[in-house]
């Protein structure tokens, strides 16, 4: 075997483990998610939105809806791959017990990422339901965002797992959230358009993976069509593979001495 830690179909068993745990608390989580989604939409879309003139012919609520949905996937994937994965890796020794069974680091990483993405997909789907109840989904094509959000969530979960493999305590994640995740959220064009801001902000925004997910979502939701889809999609896919590979290497280093 050239890569003794390579992932395989056994990653599914890791995913099953997470699902079994999830069964014990999912209703509370769904209720919390729904409440949070509605709160964001009402507070920003309609509260703050009263002060905002229409943007490119759409209301402020319509503008932020797709962006918020894409952010929900990022936040969910990030929480699960940082606090959740750190607890499994360093505190509860779940990874260690898996490595005593015939699983590889690759199986564990892939299983964890798929799980983070599944959870993020559930959270985003709840958001999609809320958005459609508020009449903010203009095209049936909006459903096509779900597989793209899954890939986006795998990407952010892999990035979170990189942070987790570098962390020596939970407090490291405060830094990760304020240095990476929050700026990503604000500068991806979720809450305000980036066009017209200073050039360096525009360039920074173009380099953020979340920006490209937001563009795809906004296109699908409002027009049912995405300009430069191939470019945005390739950007997401490229970063997904990059983060996934780095995560595998770093977690291997952390788990096998």
């Amino acid at each position: 075997m050239l890569f003794p830690q390579a992932p395989s179909h056994r990653a599914f068993r890791v995913w099953v483990r997470h699902l079994v745990y999830y069964r014990s608390f999912y209703l509370a989580e769904w209720a919390g998610n729904l409440g949070e989604h509605i709160l964001w939409l009402v507070a920003f879309g309609y509260g703050l939105g009263r002060l905002v003139p229409s943007l490119d012919g759409i209301s402020y609520a319509q503008f932020i809806g797709p962006g918020l949905m894409v952010s929900v996937a990022m936040w969910n994937a990030t929480y699960e791959s940082t606090y959740g994965a750190y607890s499994r890796m360093r505190i509860q020794n779940v990874y260690e017990s898996m490595l005593m069974a015939p699983l590889t680091v690759g199986d564990i990483v892939l299983g964890d990422l798929l799980w983070c993405a599944s959870r993020a997909l559930i959270g985003s789907t709840l958001m999609l339901i809320v958005l459609s109840l508020f009449g903010l989904v203009g095209s049936l094509w909006a459903v096509a965002i779900l597989p793209i959000l899954f890939i986006e969530a795998v990407m952010f979960a892999a990035l979170g797992l990189i942070a987790t493999s570098l962390a020596h305590s939970f407090s490291f994640f405060n830094f990760y959230f304020s240095a990476i995740v929050m700026p990503m959220f604000f500068f991806a064009g979720t809450l305000f358009p980036i066009k017209g801001l200073p050039l360096w902000v525009e360039r920074l925004s173009e380099a953020l993976p979340l920006t490209h997910a937001v563009r795809i979502a906004r296109g699908l939701f409002i027009y049912g069509y995405v300009e430069d889809f191939i470019w945005h999609f390739s950007f997401l896919l490229g970063f997904t593979f990059l983060f996934l590979t780095v995560a595998c290497v770093l977690v291997s280093r952390r788990m096998v001495e």
Partner: protein, 304 residues
């Protein structure tokens, strides 16, 4: 590999400047029970982690169940059960979920694992805890569940790292009794322990480890006989120069530890009579044990 479950040749592992395992060679046959004894920091746990691939060796050759650990660790682990020293039970799951989820890691379906779980739950006396959360289990129950989990796939080889440390005597006896049953069924077992007498009863062979090396290796009774003797006399309150001089001609080895004089005798004839004739009646006479061997080889200073 005719019949060798473990075949280690000069394996080494360093962490920074610390040489945790320093040229260990070990062969364990099918059906054998081998015990690794050693003070804290001797390299026992690192050696065990090398066997299941959690620690990679820097040098030497290591084959387990006929396969090379460096390249085929996953296939080895599919036929091996591991009970680690620290608690690695899944605290997010119940007792039953712990077992069937773990069975899944061996590609055993939930349905197929049920009869095995039924058997192991009874074997380890955990029936009334079937649906309990892990945090409600006592230390002994957790250890038994650990062992049950390591047996879920009917392994050919079981590794246990200090399976009885921290357990009360009742729990410890139950664990050792179950391990003896497994051994009788032909399972190959490798374990580490601090309980000398239990190791002496359970293990066909033991190895005493210190400083990352085996100091001696062999059947426990033979080792005690060869390296310590048959009997030990303990004299508390120290011994005078005269008494020590008068022991010169006798078949004994002496050791003074704080206020105790130990006499290790290879042929007890005459030692007791001699002590009495010297006016000493305050001695303890007992058979030599593995603990005597252990302390003589690894020294008596504390290891923390």
């Amino acid at each position: 590999m005719p019949g060798f479950v473990i075949d280690a040749q000069g394996i080494e592992k360093s962490f920074g400047t610390l040489k945790a395992v320093d040229g260990v060679s070990l062969q364990v046959k099918t059906g054998e029970c081998f015990g690794i004894l050693g003070p804290n920091g001797a390299g026992k746990t690192t050696t065990i982690k090398m066997l299941h691939g959690a620690v990679q060796s820097d040098a030497g050759a290591l084959r387990v169940l006929g396969r090379d650990v460096a390249t085929q660790s996953r296939l080895i682990r599919a036929q091996m059960g591991v009970v680690s020293q620290e608690d690695t039970l899944d605290r997010d799951l119940t007792v039953y979920e712990n077992l069937w989820v773990y069975a899944g890691f061996f590609s055993i379906s939930k349905k197929a694992s049920l009869s095995r779980i039924e058997y192991l739950i009874d074997f380890m006396q955990l029936r009334e805890k079937w649906d309990s959360q892990i945090k409600t289990l006592s230390g002994g129950m957790k250890r038994r569940l650990h062992i049950a989990r390591a047996l879920i796939h009917e392994p050919k080889f079981l590794i246990l790292d200090e399976p009885t440390t921290g357990l009360d005597p009742q729990a410890r006896h139950l664990v050792w009794q179950r391990l003896r049953e497994l051994k009788a069924q032909g399972l190959t077992i490798l374990l580490t322990t601090h309980y000398m007498e239990e190791a002496a009863q359970m293990c066909d062979r033991i190895g005493i480890m210190d400083g990352g090396k085996f100091l001696v290796e062999g059947p426990p009774q033979t080792l005690v006989q060869e390296k310590v003797g048959d009997e030990v006399y303990e004299l508390r309150g120290g011994a005078s120069e005269e008494l020590l001089d008068s022991l010169q001609g006798l078949p004994v080895t002496t050791e003074i530890v704080a206020d105790i004089l130990y006499l290790y005798s290879h042929n007890g004839m005459g030692v007791m009579e001699h002590l009495i004739s010297c006016g000493r009646k305050d001695f303890l006479r007992r058979p030599a044990t593995l603990e005597d061997l252990f302390l003589r080889l690894t020294g008596r200073e504390l290891r923390d």
